[in-house]
Amino acid sequence: MEKREKTRRPIRSKVQNMVFVISIAALIITSAVGIIGMIRIQNDSEGALISQMEQNLRNITTNKADLADSELGLYSSYVGNLAAYISGLYQNPSGYISHDVPTPKKEDKGKLVIQRTLRDKSVLLKNLEEEIYLLGNVEPVWHNLITSGKGLITVIYLGTEKGLLISYDDRPDLSAEDGNDVYYDYSKSAWYKKVKETGRVCFTDLYMDVYQRGLMITCAAPFYDADNNFAGAVGMDILISDLYKDIIEVDLGEDKGSYAFLVDNNGNIINNDNDSSKQKTLHEEQGMSEFVASEILAGKTGVSLAKGKTHYEYTPTENANFLGGRLGTVEDNIYFAYTPIESTGWKFCVRIPENVILAPVRSVQRNVIFTIFSFLAAFLIIIVIVAVASRKFSKKLTDPIIALTHDVKEISGGNFDYRAKIQDNDEIGDLAKSFNYMALSLKDYIRDLAAVTAEKERIGAELNVATQIQADMLPRIFPPFPDRNEFEIYATMNPAKEVGGDFYDFFLINHNHLGLVMADVSGKGVPAALFMVIAKTLIKTRALMGGTPAEILHDVNNQLCEGNEAELFVTVWLGILEISTGNVISANAGHEYPAIKRADGKFELLKTKHSPAVATMEGMKFREAEFTLNRGDILYIYTDGVAEATNSAEELYGTDRMIDALNKKADAPINEILAEVKKDVDDFTGDAPQFDDITMLGLRYYGQEVNKMVETKKLDIAAEIKNLDAVLAFVDEQLEKYGCTPKVQMQIDVAVEEIFVNIANYAYNPEIGSAGICVEVQEDPLVVSITFTDNGVPYDPLKKPDPDVTLSAEERQIGGLGIYMVKKSMDDISYNYKDGKNILTIKKSL
């Protein structure tokens, strides 16, 4: 058993988990690939959009600038032609007739007329007459120009260095002063100053027409006198509202933040509005950065991004999804495209917020996020579907197994008529059929087995009886000879099967000779047992008739060889011990060596010469060996079941281990020594079955008792208190030469006094009888035994209960103290009533 039981994981949950994990993994991989792809497309499209936008803006700005330049260039060429014409007048005045230029008149309102204005009162008309008549020649040219100008050229005028201003328009009423000369200092006007300074065709900045007709611009050019000196400037006012609209009207979608605008030379944004409060400079343009503004004003052409602030903004989504919109960061980044208009020095700018450009990308982004959420939703739904489906699938897979398990439990429970019901045509179906077949086979087998078992039980019962008979044949009551104390003997037999071929035997041949037999019949079981019975009987019978072991075995051999059809034989160790001397004569017929322990040594094998086993060949002679047992020696004989015991690793127990086991308890009683060997063999073989009978016999030799007693002295004396001193004197005299310690001496004296006084007081009361005191001293070890004998009333002092020595003086009983002191101080005390005598013996080591 493992310490920690593994968690049970049914097949069903394994299949379920596997399907589930594979599905989820596939989903995750495809989702990841899809989402990464979408995000890449989104990033790529963002870059493409921006570069396309930049190209578009470049095209728009340059096209618009070209448009403006070509329109305005037309006007500048008109003015240039006018200037050249006027210069021509100065250089060739004689080629022209005089043409008067009158003062402005109210009645000319609505008519295109030429009119004059003086710079200031310091200018004298008479000084200008020549110039007036010369320059009046411009009228037809100007008339043609205005009438062909589609109403866009509202007025044409010129101013000279000499102080004359000639204008041509249809509103002379606005300046007319009843036909008198009017004054206006045009030399301070921007168009005049600019032309005078640059000497080139110039455009003024835009301004609102004073008649509210729209945005105006003045285009002016210098003209020169005959000496080629600057003589003045000619200019025309042009309504350019339409042109302005043409330029700044750019299709940038519906976004309010996307528009085009013009910046004039002062850095102001040109506005088509009369309200000056709405005028603003380029720097004030929303989202403009310093860098972009400086690029624009430097007249560069390009597209730049002005980084704006980042803020959070909630954007409702266009496509209705479950989120309804998104809250995200919005950067007010603005793209500015710009290019200068050469003719005026203005700058054409287009402003588009980055958000507008990236709107399609944002839309893609939203779609990506929506798709991711859709993926997740689909993911969850698929998880649920896969979980349910895998559950059903695994259930379908395991249900037959569970049903089969139930059926097999029914069969294994002993119901062999039960049949598994699974009919599926698959592996489980095959398994069910196999189980059904197994149930059928089991049923047949068990029926057969029951018959065989009944037969075996009958034989077994008979064999048990045989075992009992065989065991009864061996002497099994110990001690076998209770009145013989010259030796101690013990033997055991543990058969391997019910009846074995081993046997031991021991018997007194006569008063002084003990026969010892250890034998092992070849083969096992009933035949060996039968042979053993014959062999045992023959050996004992023959031995009792007298003779040496060799003679005995010789005769037994001849008897057993007769009609030994089964070719059985028996190894025998036969020894005859002469009890009085310890001398042993033995014959070893193919048997194990005996082991001997000398009194002061250890067990060792006694290797004597072998003869062949008994019953192998008729007429054989057997060898003998002699050895002597001394006091305390132990003889151990055994069969090969001990030495050849085998463990599960096929190792032999061997005689070395046997000797070691014998030596473990060599001083213990024989039965304990044998038990120790048996235990050691069992420990060695472990679970391996016992192959052979294990039979052992041990004998410890003491020799004859007489040698033990060193000295015995006896005193017969009248049992009277007055004789106490004489008794003590007799005992002390016997012990004197052994030099007892004062303590032991006093303990013995006290014991003798107590016992003798008891006899004197109670044994014959009131008569006086005799008491015998016998002192025996035994040596090695030195022990004194003192036996008190009297013929008085039977009385066993040992039966008296001990006094309670823990009581106080008042509670103490007077009696019983004496015998209690004897029990406590002596090593042994025994009482016997025999032949009408009380016999009490005490023993004490000296």
């Binding site: 208190i721 007055k722 006093m746 107590e754 006084v757 009581l807 008042e810 406590k824």
Partner: protein, 98 residues
């Protein structure tokens, strides 16, 4: 056994010499029976006592019981052998041994 008595007012000292056994115990018993009247401090000196048997123990127990009623009894100078007898029999708990 020799018994040597020394009386000093209500104090009595008895010195024992020899063996206190079944034969000699009655002598001590007699001395104590007659001599303990009025004694409050009773001392038994065992310096020269070499032997005690159960008969002796009985007399000592009797003396102790008497003295428990009228005063105190002390045993002095006990040799090791006798001390062991007192211990085995539990007398070392009953008697006051110095």
């Amino acid at each position: 056994m020799l018994i040597n008595k020394t009386q000093n007012g209500d104090s009595l000292t008895i010195a024992l010499d020899g063996r206190l056994d079944t034969t000699t115990a009655p002598q001590l018993d007699a001395e104590i029976s007659s001599g303990l009247e009025g004694v409050k401090n009773f001392v038994i000196d065992m310096e020269k006592l070499v032997y005690v048997s159960s008969a002796g123990l009985r007399v000592l127990l009797k003396a102790q019981k008497t003295m428990n009623k009228q005063g105190s009894m002390v045993i002095k100078n006990v040799c090791d052998e006798i001390k062991e007898i007192f211990e085995v029999t539990g007398f070392d708990e009953l008697l006051t041994i110095e």
